[in-house]
């Protein structure tokens, strides 16, 4: 099954990932510098006063008094050495701040992606079994609904329903404040907090998975090898599982890769609604505080993550589908 995968291809893709990372650093740096005003004006605003001498010392402290190309060179050089600078607002190393939050976001993403993919494939397969049936229409209508709902509002409705009216689940945060659980109790506590934000994220993506699975399964089921399988007398269940679903899964792997960028960047709203201490809430704080180094750091870290994820899905693609010859 590994025949489609070549080391040269993987090496090429790694090089491409590095090139993409460099491009993101360059583009983001200049994009953010296009904004009027600089960090000194923001910090002076926070301090509540600003005379010219104070502004000058601030600019000197952060190297903002130097020409833009020099600033960029210094920044790029630092990034190459794994230093993303210092956050203006938090006065801590950017990389450390992001790394502290990243696991929380990835945990939420992984849970949401798992629920979305498994639920969506199941629903899509159900709908594809009898196109035009009541079940099929119900899946279509539901997926259209979840496409049209604002995600942040869906989150609030989940809170209203499950946390306020039914009082079943905690409405916000990642763990119970002050409970100081350890070990298994802590894992259970976090899991309980993860259900509502995770499900909200998952419902939207589940709709797309269901649509895609349905379309792919109907397309595959019209192909000759499926007729052959039926003609051989294999049971309908086996045909659906082993012949149709397996082939229909191929486009879904690509789709999961494309979604990674949405998931990593798309948690801003959900994290905000559920006070989830992840990269999304961090990005929101960074925008509010004009924290350019932190914003740049978030762009770079998420871009590298997404590129790596794409690399992994491409490789998975080659493994799942032996027809794909990469390299």
């Amino acid at each position: 099954m590994m025949s489609g995968l070549k080391p040269r291809y993987v090496a090429m893709r790694l090089v491409k990932t590095v090139l993409v990372a460099i491009a993101v650093v360059v583009l983001s740096f200049f994009l953010i510098r296009l904004a009027p005003g600089d960090a000194a004006t923001v910090m002076a605003g926070q301090a509540g006063y600003a005379d010219e001498a104070f502004m000058k010392s601030l600019r000197a402290e952060y190297g903002l008094d130097q020409p833009l190309p020099v600033q960029f060179w210094k920044y790029a050089d630092a990034v190459a050495h794994g230093d993303l600078g210092t956050s203006y607002v938090r006065r801590q190393p950017v990389l450390g701040v992001i790394m502290e939050r990243l696991p929380n976001t990835l945990l939420l993403d992984a849970f949401a992606l798992l629920v979305a993919a498994s639920g969506g494939v199941w629903l899509g397969a159900l709908a594809a079994r009898k196109p035009g049936s009541v079940g099929d229409n119900a899946v279509s209508v539901l997926s259209m609904l979840f496409y049209a709902v604002p995600q942040f509002w869906l989150g609030m409705m989940m809170v209203l329903f499950f946390a306020v009216w039914l009082a079943m689940l905690p409405p916000f945060g990642i763990e119970t404040m002050g409970a100081d659980y350890t070990g298994l109790a802590r894992i259970g506590d976090v899991a309980e907090h993860m259900i509502l934000p995770g499900l909200t994220l998952a419902l939207y993506y589940m709709a797309s998975y269901a649509r895609l699975t349905r379309a792919a399964m109907i397309e595959v089921s019209e192909q000759d090898f499926v007729k052959t399988a039926r003609a051989k007398g294999i049971s309908e269940r086996q045909v659906a599982r082993r012949h149709i679903l397996r082939n229909a899964l191929i486009p879904l792997v690509t789709y999961a890769g494309l979604q990674a960028s949405l998931l990593v960047g798309g948690t801003v709203l959900i994290e905000n609604v559920f006070s989830w201490p992840g990269v999304g809430t961090l990005a929101y704080e960074a925008v509010q505080g004009r924290d350019n180094p932190l914003l740049l750091g978030i762009f770079i870290v998420t871009a590298i993550l997404v590129s790596l994820f794409n690399l992994v899905t491409d490789i998975t693609y080659a493994i799942v589908d032996p027809r794909v010859e990469l390299g």
């Binding site: 049209a148 306020v164 960047g265 905000n272 794409n310």
Partner: protein, 275 residues
């Protein structure tokens, strides 16, 4: 055109979506005529339940009429949705057509830019753009257009790549037509249907994006929109469900109507792609 209309309106979902959209459009246009006092006027006690005298949608945290807010909110949603989509289509068609028609370096550059948009968190980029331009109606429109044009460019580029080798294009070249006339007069009219389909979906998405911005407090502070109504009632959600439920339902119904229209257009314009 009539056969197109027939094939669009004979689809119940599409006809329904169209009817709902017209109703919302009329409400949006008529809001200043019906509710002359504007959405910010305080009309009674805060958080009165729907059905209270004179307040069929209740009042919000400041005692403003929810129904007036909802009607005025439709104006913002439709305005931002339509104008930002027009902007995105303008940029996307121009760049996609150039890339698809000329190929080569231009094409490579455009593809790298669209890839850049696929791997960076676009919503964070949008927040940055809007915050830097100062939150306003204009910055929301520009920001949303700037993050959504790449998808149009990809579609248009694909159409141009497949159309540029056709006989009618070669004929136009032989006749000595300028590149601009071939691109806009010959190829573009033949690439219109995917652009029409994608744009109706984009209006819906832009409305969702605008509401998210306003919800986070990055909307125009001088205008009441559905998103800012939800954002402003977060603290009241626990005691007064209608303050958040109703604006959200308005967004959902509007976007759903637009998606139904989009599906209908897709089926009516591409009968072969139907399943």
């Amino acid at each position: 055109m009539t056969s197109f209309a027939r094939s669009f309106f004979c689809r119940p979902m599409a006809a329904f979506g169209f009817a709902v959209f017209i109703v919302i459009l009329v409400i949006a246009l008529a809001a200043p005529l019906i509710f002359v006092r504007g959405p910010f006027t305080i009309v009674g006690m805060p958080l009165l339940a729907p059905g209270s005298p004179g307040l069929f949608a209740g009042s919000d945290v400041l005692g403003r009429d929810m129904a007036v807010g909802l009607a005025y909110g439709a104006r913002i949603s439709l305005l931002v949705g339509v104008t930002s989509t027009l902007g995105a289509i303008g940029i996307g068609v121009l760049l996609g057509a150039t890339a698809g028609y000329y190929g080569g370096m231009v094409d490579d550059l455009l593809m790298r830019i669209t890839e850049f948009f696929q791997i960076i968190p676009t919503f964070v980029l949008l927040m940055v753009l809007v915050a830097f331009m100062q939150p306003s109606l204009g910055s929301a429109v520009i920001g949303i257009a700037l993050i959504s044009w790449p998808q149009v460019a990809r579609v248009v580029r694909g159409e141009f790549l497949s159309l540029r080798e056709r006989e009618f294009v070669q004929a136009a070249r032989v006749l000595g037509l300028s590149d601009a006339r071939i691109i806009f007069g010959q190829i573009l009219p033949n690439a219109l249907s995917p652009i029409v389909v994608i744009s109706s979906m984009m209006v819906g998405n832009a409305i969702l994006t605008e509401s998210a911005l306003a919800f986070l407090g990055l909307g125009d502070p001088n205008l009441l929109s559905w998103g800012s109504m939800i954002g402003g009632s977060r603290s009241a959600m626990w005691v007064a469900w209608w303050t958040t439920v109703l604006p959200g339902l308005c967004i959902m119904v509007t976007v759903l109507a637009l998606n139904f229209i989009g599906d209908g257009l897709n089926d009516a314009l591409n009968p072969r792609r139907r399943r």
